[in-house]
Each structure stands twice: as structure tokens, then as C-alpha cells.
């Protein structure tokens, strides 16, 4: 069965520092790949997505992610974090479900990012 692994449950960085949040997936084909952010008491917000093509995709608020087929990874990066980036970040993959006309998201366990002053 497919799975998504986010090896870091918690990451703490200083404001202005660079960031990388790791994500690896296990699936025989290349799925659609997503990063979502969840702020306290809010729903998930889509940061960026990868369907095909250029392995580096740009998202909102200066985030980008790089797809690596050889490593089955989709790591999230930001050059300079801000205190408002503190949140939980989820990596997710989308694969076609049974029935042929639907897709479901499989999520990692999330990484809690804390940005310190």
C-alpha cells in the first residue's frame, strides 16, 4: 500500500533562516504530490502541488518543493522563514482510487514547524 513519510515530527528554526521539510512517498508510479499547511484551528491550505514537468514547483508565500523520482521524495523549502510560518505542514499524495473516477489523498503525519524570534 502507498504511504507518505515525514521523518521529522517537529522542526524549530530561527526567523530568517532557511527551511527544509522532508517528505518521502512509497508508490509504484509517480503520484500527484502536494504540500498543505494547517494553522491552529483552521483547515488545510494548499501550498503547492506537483503533477509533472519541472521538478521544482513554486508555491505561495515563498515556498517551493522539489520532486525527485529517484529518491521518491518531495521536500519543501523556503529560503527565509517568518514567524507566521509556524504551523503544521502535511505532505500528501493523490492516487486514483477504485472505481476509476476519483482520487483520494494519503497524508503524512505532519511536521510541526516552530519559528523562533
Amino acid at each position: 500500500a502507498q504511504s507518505v513519510t515525514q521523518p521529522d515530527a517537529r522542526v524549530t528554526v530561527s526567523e530568517g533562516a532557511s527551511l527544509q521539510l522532508r517528505c518521502k512517498y512509497s508508490y509504484s508510479a509517480t503520484p500527484y504530490l502536494f504540500w498543505y499547511v494547517q494553522y491552529p484551528r483552521q483547515g488545510l491550505q494548499l501550498l503547492l502541488k506537483y503533477y509533472s514537468g519541472d521538478p521544482v514547483v513554486q508555491g505561495v508565500n515563498g515556498f517551493e518543493a522539489e520532486f525527485s523520482k529517484s529518491n521518491s521524495s518531495f521536500h519543501l523549502r523556503k529560503a527565509s522563514v517568518h514567524w507566521s510560518d509556524s504551523a503544521v505542514y502535511f505532505c500528501a499524495v493523490s492516487i486514483q482510487g477504485r472505481g476509476g473516477s476519483n482520487y483520494k489523498l494519503t497524508f503524512g503525519k505532519g511536521t510541526l514547524l516552530t519559528v523562533t524570534p
Binding site: 500527484y32 502535511f90 493523490s94 483520494k104 489523498l105
Partner: protein, 112 residues
């Protein structure tokens, strides 16, 4: 961006009671989903729904669960009867292209 609304934001009920969670999806979306997130754990797929039918459900989607979207109104998740292990945050999502899903803020269900 597109907004998905969920009503209520928090529901507290006694075990064995029925509960209905309501989702107001993005107006032109065709595909609808429910996910369950137990506190501190990852979000897990429950069910998806298209053209008035359940397309796929996970093992978490127990017989006590049902979904419907009567006449294009709210997309609902009903649990009857509820159990203690149903306590979680339930997220609704909708999609136009089946792939990119937009999520609501969740309904926190507490079963006592």
C-alpha cells in the same frame, strides 16, 4: 481561493446519539470527500462521493456512517449511533478536477 464551509465547528454528543456533520462545498465542484483526523495523528481518508454515489470508502467508514448530498445542498456525514472512537476532527473537501482538493476548517466531534 475557493472556500469550503463546515457546520458546526464543534459538536459534543453522548455516545449512542446520532450526529450529522454538514459541509458546504465550493459551488461548482463535483467531487466530495470526508477525512478524519484524530488528535495528533495524520488525516485519513474516509469516503468520496460523486454524482450522488459513494465512489470509494475506507475501512474507517463503518456501517454506522453514511453520506449524502440531497438536491445539491450540503454534503453531509451522518454517524448513527456514535461511539467513543468517533471523537476526532472531520474535514470535508471538494474538488473540481478530482485531484486538487479544497478543505474546510473541520468539525471537532467529541463523543462522551
Amino acid at each position: 481561493g475557493p472556500k469550503v464551509l463546515q457546520i458546526p465547528s464543534h459538536q459534543i454528543i453522548d455516545m449512542g446519539q446520532m450526529v450529522t456533520l454538514n459541509c458546504d462545498p465550493v459551488s461548482n465542484h463535483l467531487y466530495f470527500y470526508w477525512y478524519k483526523q484524530i488528535l495528533g495523528q495524520q488525516m485519513e481518508f474516509l469516503v468520496n462521493f460523486y454524482n450522488g454515489k459513494v465512489m470509494e470508502k475506507s475501512k474507517l467508514f463503518k456501517d454506522q456512517f453514511s453520506v449524502e448530498r440531497p438536491d445539491g445542498s450540503y454534503f453531509t456525514l451522518k454517524i448513527q449511533p456514535t461511539a467513543l472512537e468517533d471523537s476526532a476532527v472531520y474535514f470535508c473537501a471538494s474538488s473540481l478536477d478530482r485531484v486538487e482538493q479544497y478543505f474546510g476548517p473541520g468539525t471537532r466531534l467529541t463523543v462522551l
